[in-house]
């Protein structure tokens, strides 16, 4: 998987970072599925990464899981393909190249059974973009679980995205779980966080889910100590 940031966070503090994405155009666009498939096969890995892994950043309601599925389902009105592309779990793949092949294969399969070529109107094409990620401190740090919970509730959504979604591609595990395990020795909680299915939640939902899991752990501890 492509390196997209610094190495894994270490040390007793958890320093929250956040990110913004600077959008770049490739100038390439697809008007129909044939062009979409061809461009998926040839476009830069950065572009595939953006349209799949960065989708949660713009996700408001869970309907699709990546830009290709969204365009197929909504603009081309190829609902079946939208569903099939949404069902691809990008975290299952060891490399962007493997993911690229799977996306193209799914579109190719659909095209075999749907020979009627549907072409969108000018302005509705699929525009292939890329991004540059700017990473910067979120202005919050935590030394223990209670501070962590508090910070988690007010940091920017892009901070949750950066540590919880994007970290999986950077270091194979989300930053929160890594810190809970390595700095606080909370293996069980780290595991529970890691097991959350990223594709099934928006960033806002993930924030709530994480907070409730941590709250539950803290409450249990308080009850034990009484």
């Amino acid at each position: 998987m492509e390196q997209r940031g610094p190495d894994r966070l270490e040390g007793p503090f958890f320093e929250f970072r956040q990110c913004v994405k600077l959008l770049k155009a490739t100038g390439k666009k697809a008007r129909d599925l044939e062009e979409l498939e061809a461009l998926i096969n040839s476009i830069s890995p950065n572009s595939i990464y953006h349209h799949v892994y960065e989708y949660p950043l713009k996700l408001i309601e869970l309907e699709y899981t990546n830009d290709f599925a969204h365009w197929a389902g909504e603009t081309l009105e190829a609902r079946r393909l939208g569903e099939a592309l949404s069902n691809i779990d990008p975290y299952r793949f060891a490399s962007i190249e493997d993911l690229r092949k799977e996306l193209a294969r799914e579109i190719g399969e659909f095209r075999k059974n749907h020979t009627l070529v549907q072409r969108v109107l000018p302005g509705e094409e699929f525009y292939f973009n890329e991004t540059i990620t700017l990473v910067f401190p979120a202005g919050a740090r935590a030394r223990n679980l209670a501070e962590f919970l508090l910070a988690l509730k007010f940091v920017d959504a892009s901070s949750i995205y950066y540590h919880f979604f994007e970290a999986r591609n950077r270091v194979g595990i989300n930053d929160f779980s890594a810190w809970l395990r390595d700095a606080l020795g909370r293996e069980e909680l780290a595991k529970r966080l890691h097991e959350i299915d990223l594709l099934m939640h928006t960033v806002a939902e993930i924030r709530e889910l994480l907070a409730s899991l941590i709250e539950e752990e803290l409450r249990r501890e308080i009850e034990v100590s009484q």
Binding site: E2, Q3, R4, G5, P6, Q18, V20, L22, L23, K24, A25, T26, G27, K28, K29, N46, I60, E61, P122, G123, E125, Y127, N129, E130, T131, I132, T133, L134, V135, F136, P137, A138, G139, D156, S158
Partner: protein, 406 residues
Amino acid sequence: MILEAYANTSPKSDLRLLRLLGKKFEGRSFLHINSTRVGGGVAEILHRMIPILNDIGIKTRWEVIEGDPEFFDITKKIHNALQGKPEEITPSMWEHHFEVNRRNSEQISLEADFAFIHDPQPAPLIRFKPEGGRWAWRCHIDLSAPYEEVARRVVDYALQYDAAVFSVAKFARSLPVPEFIVLPSIDPLSEKNRELEKEEIDEIARRFDIPPGKPLILQVSRFDRFKDPVGVIKAWRMVRKYNDCMLVLAGSPATDDPEGPRVLEEVQEFASGDPDVRLLLLPAFSDREINALQRLATVVLQKSIKEGFGLTVSEAMWKGKPVIGGAVGGIPYQIIHGHNGFLVHSVEGAAFRIRQFLNSPEMTKRMGERAREHVRNNFLITRQVRDYLSIWAAVEEPGRTSIMMV
């Protein structure tokens, strides 16, 4: 501190990154060049942006090239051609375009660590760029379907820059230089968008004879066919069969469009005799009036059938109004259908959605709140400044997909 003024409006994260970028480029120079100091969205936003940039420590200058009437006739033709209109630009016209830029290069100091050259008028200045520094060509025009013969010449200039910057991906075209996308923005503190006192709003309502209590449907736009003012009246008439409400169409006549006066006449005729329709012909710079009208509205329309970016949508959304917009140009970037407004494709669609809003004040309020948040997170000037400086960081470190700011 100018940036402090945005502390209660812009997202904290944007302000934090802006300060970091300010620190990164502290004392270095950023030059903007365009062709007019007044009128138009580019000048409007530069007026607001330059003080912010200086405030965070970047030595920012804004220069305006000067030209004779012939030059501006030529650049108007170039502008139209880039938007698809076939225009003949003769070799001597191109030469004049270049020559005016050459003369300007002798008058304006082009020394800068980073420069944004806005639109085609000053594009040839790249030929006079001093050693060092990096330049980006900032194109505010939709280049997706241009008149090719003219576009090729402009692109020849663009290719000599370190980067090109477009407003949305669909306005861009494939170029062998890095191409960045920076969505336009509104300034929440400008006269057009700042918070207004209730008395100010009431006074403007009285002046325009807008009765209190009656739901108000509003479209703010030039009287031009692409904004479909007749379609708006038709939609409102359909709504009127079910809901008591009034319609205000506010804007200025399209003076640079030969069809402008005819369109206005058509609209006046179509609306005549209906006391609940108001056509407000506002003089230029009626920013406070537009601000108040948007705040008075129950539902705002931007029923365009062709549009650039359509920032009036964000202006209304910032005031907590859900907008019903045509699904064209930059409107779908602002309105997320069914979440913070509705995208429509017909008069009937517009009428249906107006009725939905009028019959569901709760939904109107909820979507309006989401509209404001969407603008806060995506369409405020602080985000645009942030993006411009991020491009500077990116062109200084080409090939990087990730930049750490600490």
